[in-house]
């Protein structure tokens, strides 16, 4: 009796299926519950990986509800890569369509935020952008920069930054009923979230796409007359959000 790896795998993720014949215990009888060791290892190890990777979602749902969600998600979306630290990319979309949690509208964005933190943590190192190239009015207009590899931008129709802060920072105020854009940066090793003022995210995206400082500013001002370049630039420089334009694009 041969046991193919596909039949082993089928039984692994579906506890309703019988243990494949041809797997034995110590005395030649059927393996029975011994097969459950593998079933448990897979579900538990992947659920733990998700719990580590999605601290905000876990905090919002509570440990028990998160474990239930993870059990369902792991079976529906097993990892497609051995890089378990990036496992769960499908969770935001899964949450959007997952009936029992659909009523928590902001949950998918919270999962996106957790993912962005993790991607930022493992992103390539890059020297921060040198602001001295901005000296002189023409030079400042013509300069270019890119987002550092560890920088992530998130648009949300929810008060995502306030929700993150309420759950992750002691004594934080209640979320306001507004849409919020967030920038994740990694000044050294620990990713940090920054709430972006209106227009900032557009300016940063334009810049990353290759526009000069001047072009990006003009484009954002045309649709958002209150955009404050100084404020955005200060945020970007103090958080090491930018790197030299010639740094390899991520």
């Amino acid at each position: 009796m041969t046991v193919s790896q596909s039949s082993f795998r089928e039984a692994l993720l579906d506890a309703e299926r019988p243990v494949p014949a041809g797997l034995n215990n110590a005395v030649g009888g059927p393996a029975g519950a011994r097969f459950s060791v593998y079933r448990n290892n897979v579900i538990v190890s992947l659920s733990e990986a998700l719990a580590t990777a999605f601290p905000l979602v876990r905090k919002l749902l509570g440990t028990e509800a998160f474990a239930q969600l993870a059990g369902v998600f792991v079976r529906a979306h097993p990892p497609d890569s051995p890089l378990i630290m990036f496992y769960g990319e499908a969770l935001p979309d899964f949450l959007r369509d997952f009936e029992p949690l659909k009523h928590i509208g902001y949950l998918p964005d919270c999962a996106r935020l957790d993912l962005a933190f993790r991607q930022s943590y493992h992103a390539a190192d890059a020297p921060p952008f040198d602001p001295s190239v901005l000296q002189g009015e023409d030079a400042g207009q013509m300069a270019r920069a890119r987002l550092a590899p560890a920088t992530r931008l998130l648009r949300s129709k929810w008060p995502l930054h306030d929700i993150w802060r309420l759950n992750m920072v002691p004594d934080a105020p209640k979320p306001r009923a507004i849409a919020q854009d967030i920038m994740i940066t990694r000044p050294e090793f620990d990713p940090q979230p920054t709430l972006l003022p209106p227009g900032s995210i557009d300016w940063l995206e334009r810049l990353h796409a290759g526009a000069t400082f001047g072009e990006a500013t003009d484009m954002v001002l045309s649709s958002n007359p209150t955009f404050d370049l100084t404020e955005t630039l200060t945020l970007a420089l103090t958080t090491h959000a930018l790197t030299d334009y010639t740094t390899k694009e991520r």
């Binding site: 009796m1 046991v3 790896q5 393996a31 593998y38 051995p82 943590y121 390539a124």
Partner: protein, 284 residues
């Protein structure tokens, strides 16, 4: 040209520990008898940040063993060449003293199961595993060590003993072996044979590294003992005794303490490393 000579193994014949980031400062300041560390390859396959920086700092003080958990060498399907490329980049970047992987599979189709799954020992699987090992060694340009699994069940179709299977792989590929004596103890208990007889039959000349670790005790649905490889507890006395038994036969070897779950504070893990140092003393 592939160098499979034993001299290429540069891990010190001393205690090592599985590295956990929470031990970084303690390990740098009070390493005790620890002179080398082992990391899981996949955890260092990001692009940069703290994992890379810590590894660079650690490598200034400790010899490094890179231990893969995701290559699926025992898989029926071709190796994931994308993953093999990532491994190659990591090995080039860190030039570790040793690279090891498992006699197990974890990938099927596009799915990665995140567990070390068992395979039957037959002529067919022997051909598969041997060609995978050769492919890995050719790609990395170095010898690899292959680790014996912890077994919870047996395949009816197996026609080779595990020790003969491993011996044949060594002969065919020139690979070395990582002998996990905790796994030997677990498999022997679970499948009803003597762990000493397993060690006796093992191709000990090929052993480049030894693992010890903790396990959980359970029982199967017939009430038979079932040990589970949890790496979440101290090493038990019978496993230390099996290490002593093994070292008497192999002579001095690099001995790693694995503790991956419910990771304790550094002094507890260091005490395990001191215990391993004591085991090595009579054979140094």
């Amino acid at each position: 040209m592939l160098d499979t000579s034993p001299q290429n193994d540069r891990l010190p014949s001393a205690p090592g520990v599985g590295y956990k980031p929470q031990h970084f400062n303690d390990l740098m300041q009070t390493p005790g008898p620890v002179s080398w560390i082992e990391v899981h390859a996949e955890n260092y396959m990001g692009e940069g940040g703290r994992p890379h920086a810590q590894l660079r700092a650690l490598q200034e003080r400790f010899a490094l063993s890179v231990h893969g958990v995701g290559l699926s060498i025992g898989g029926q399907e071709p190796l994931d060449t994308e993953h093999l490329d990532r491994l190659h980049i990591l090995i080039e970047r860190t030039s570790p003293a040793s690279f090891s992987e498992h006699l197990a599979w974890s990938t099927h189709g596009a799915e990665f199961m995140n567990d070390l799954l068992p395979l039957p020992y037959t002529d067919t699987t022997l051909d598969h595993v041997a060609s995978h090992i050769t492919q890995v060694q050719d790609k990395l340009g170095r010898q690899m060590l292959l680790e014996n699994p912890s077994s919870y069940l047996a395949f009816e179709e197996s026609t080779w003993s595990e020790t003969d299977f491993l011996s044949e792989l060594v002969k065919r590929t020139g690979c070395g072996l990582l002998l996990d004596v905790n796994n030997v103890f677990i498999s022997a208990t679970n499948l009803g044979y003597s762990p000493q007889s397993y060690v006796d039959a093992y191709p000990l000349h090929a052993v480049g590294e030894i693992h010890v670790g903790g396990h959980d005790e359970d029982s199967d649905d017939q009430g038979a003992p079932l040990l589970i490889d949890s790496h979440g507890k101290p090493v038990v006395d019978p496993v230390w005794a099996l290490l002593d038994y093994t070292l008497r036969k192999t002579g001095s070897r690099p001995v790693l303490v694995e503790w991956d779950n419910d990771v304790p504070d550094w002094p507890v893990l260091r005490a395990e490393a001191e215990r391993a140092a004591k085991a090595l003393q009579p054979v140094q």
